[in-house]
Amino acid sequence: MSIDATPTRGQPLSGIKVADFSWFGAGPICAENLATFGATVVRVESEAHLDGLRSVGPFPPGKNTYNVSGYFNNYNAGKLDLTLNLNTPLGKRMAEKLIAWSDIFLTNFTPRIIERWGLLYEELVRLRPDIIAVYQPMQGYDGPHKDFMGFGAVLSPITGYNELCGFPERPPMGIGTNYPDYVINPGHTLVAILAALHHRRKTGHGQRIELAQIESSVAPLAPALMDCTVNGRVETRAGNRLPHAAPHGAFRCRDGEWNGQPEDRWCAIAVFDDAQWWGLVAAMGSPAWAKDERFGSHAGRKAHEDEIDAQISGWTAGRPAEEVMALLQSQGVPAGVVQNARDMLQDEHLKARGYYVYLDHPEAGRTAYDGPPFRLSKTPGVLRSPAPLLGEHNELVCREILGMSDEEIAEALIAQALY
């Protein structure tokens, strides 16, 4: 399976051209979504400064070249790949030609680098007046912290997620990933780009979009901020509980076994109202303890939540998590297995919907990719090709998009502009 520079047909973004000067997570994921819905995306990289994700695993067994990283590949399906060294004058001129071809320019490089390369919006509109130029700096293009370093690992603490997530007696450790990199920031960016495209179709005007990653990450935490600005309360970690639900949390189920080792298994259970409570009681076989009148109202359950949690844990402990979920769901109680990656890939529901997509990559082999994050009934979105090899489409892009002759391409190779 391979792609070329020919526009797609009949997709929401057919004919839209994207110069993807981004790396790591927040930029590439957004550009991948544009490709999935029909845009022609040229991912620009350089061997002089590889995308860090190319050198971070996972890698297929026995392979560890920079073309086979599962981390990188999952965010770059459906793109053409061009290696361009912007620190050479010819590389810079080629970048300008690519931008003149583009409807959308996207970057999450630091403001310092973008200024040095001359890729600010004011410079890009000279190349392409109606361009939608999208910048995803960590802190923003102005302000006292403009040049601060950072990526996901420090973004989560700076933006409040670590302080607010987890159990109060533990340190603010975060949620185990560079969380804002994967949906919050690329997803917000996608919303902004699509709105700007709609506006451009109405008016012919492009614009500059700036998504400061700290601002985008803090925005969904607004209720905690307002609790502070309005009520003066400084919220902190509250574990798995919610004020308006009880019981609410993850309950340990019977251990499973994986590779000959016991594996802890959990089921999330959420009870918001009396009907769900009585559903839970019925699922448990209506034990005598549950009929205690103290537990007959939300207020009562909230007041005795520890006691109820202990009783439920006694019931879940002897059952597989899947059975707990199925029993509770059959009684109308929101419940779900705490699924690990194996569960996700083997999830019968996700399989029935065809969520994960398996693509044949020339070096990595057949591997799983996240499918489109939303489904459109008429134009469902397609991962048209696996992630590109580094520089895989150099010749194609030079010839068909940049209009270069064989001699010019050779010159670019010799000048290490194509690098």
Binding site: P12, Y161, M173, V191, H198, D227
Partner: protein, 430 residues
Amino acid sequence: MTTCALDDLRILDLAGDIGIYAAKLLADLGADVIRIEPPSGDPARRIGPFYHDDASPERSLSYFHLNTNKRGITLDLTSDDGRALFRRLVATADVVVETFEPGFLDGIGLGYDALTEIRPNLILTSITGFGQDGPHARYRWSDIVGVAMGGMMTLAGDKADPPNMPYGYQGYTGAGIQAAAGTLMAVLQRDNGGGGQHVDVSMQEALSINQETAMQTFDMTGAIRQRTGARGALPIDIAGIGVYDCTDGQVFAYLGTPGGAPWSAMLEWMTDAGKAEDLNDDPYREMIGQLNLRFLTGLAALAADPPKLQAALGTLGHIYDVFSRFCKSQSKWTLYEEGQRRRLMFGVVSTPADLVKNPQLQARAWLHDVHHDELGETLRYAGPPYRLSETPWAIHRRAPLPGEHNIDVYGDELGLSLPDVEALRARGVV
């Protein structure tokens, strides 16, 4: 007069918790979003925190945040009159956002097919826990069910605890963001002349990519990524990585990373401050010279030589203790700002109060003030996720009170007379 990117779109917002953020994102970019609440009360108004802790339906700060720029009407979709009114509204709408159990709207005669008969190019966005089809389509969901079934929760927390739920309804947030994007994707296809369509958002699928490398790790190697607690993947405490106490809170440090200054720059700072203790002597100084992420790989190789490994661990432990004492003597903002000036990666473990006073957010005037006439007060809101130069994000209107725009919408726009609206109100339809 600035323009708005989406000011030509009218959206009917029937969403529950899982979808309210999607409609907010579109409203804040200029769409005319009409939030439709049941006359019996909108459950979303029962979610805190509340203004001055007054848990009444008109005081939810969460609701204020999630419903900026929307107009609000009440309508009982379970009554024939209510459905008739809804059909008249649909005839004026571009998008309907809904979060009912799959099949519910079909069951009351308001499914995608029925709605597109009224409004051929309509976009229907459905946001649910598990999507519109498949064996779990009718499963009940809540935020924690989404983060559990979507693979996020298993990665969060300490092995000694239950898996952690991320704070702040991140399941709903992720589903909402993907739904807003999916809706706009459908709008662009309609712009192309491709008509309307049904947008199906599953919270479980919307969150899957948040697993970071876990899915690919299992696919490629058969290994299952686990929750790893405060130390992450590190086998021991390493000075300069992780959470440290300060005089006034905590910082997160990630020293020795590519692109930043080496650990020796940290030693220089501690020396300048007179708090390096004996770290300028060997064996500490020598080890600091090599202390980076790659160093840990070398440490693993020492496992074959237990005495040497013990010595190395002792040296590392002492550096960790001295570094921890240094952090403990500084404020978190000093470590963050002075550290960053020295290219040492520190970040404040921000509390909500820290976010409110963050100098960068302040300098960029990120927080937004919104006046509430009915409270006689101006409240400080979170700011925009993005800044669009031509069509800026803006809050033009606070969240609606229940039924606040019934007269505007039913009277002025649908042409009902005041007595008609009053009669509907008396029958509990609006």
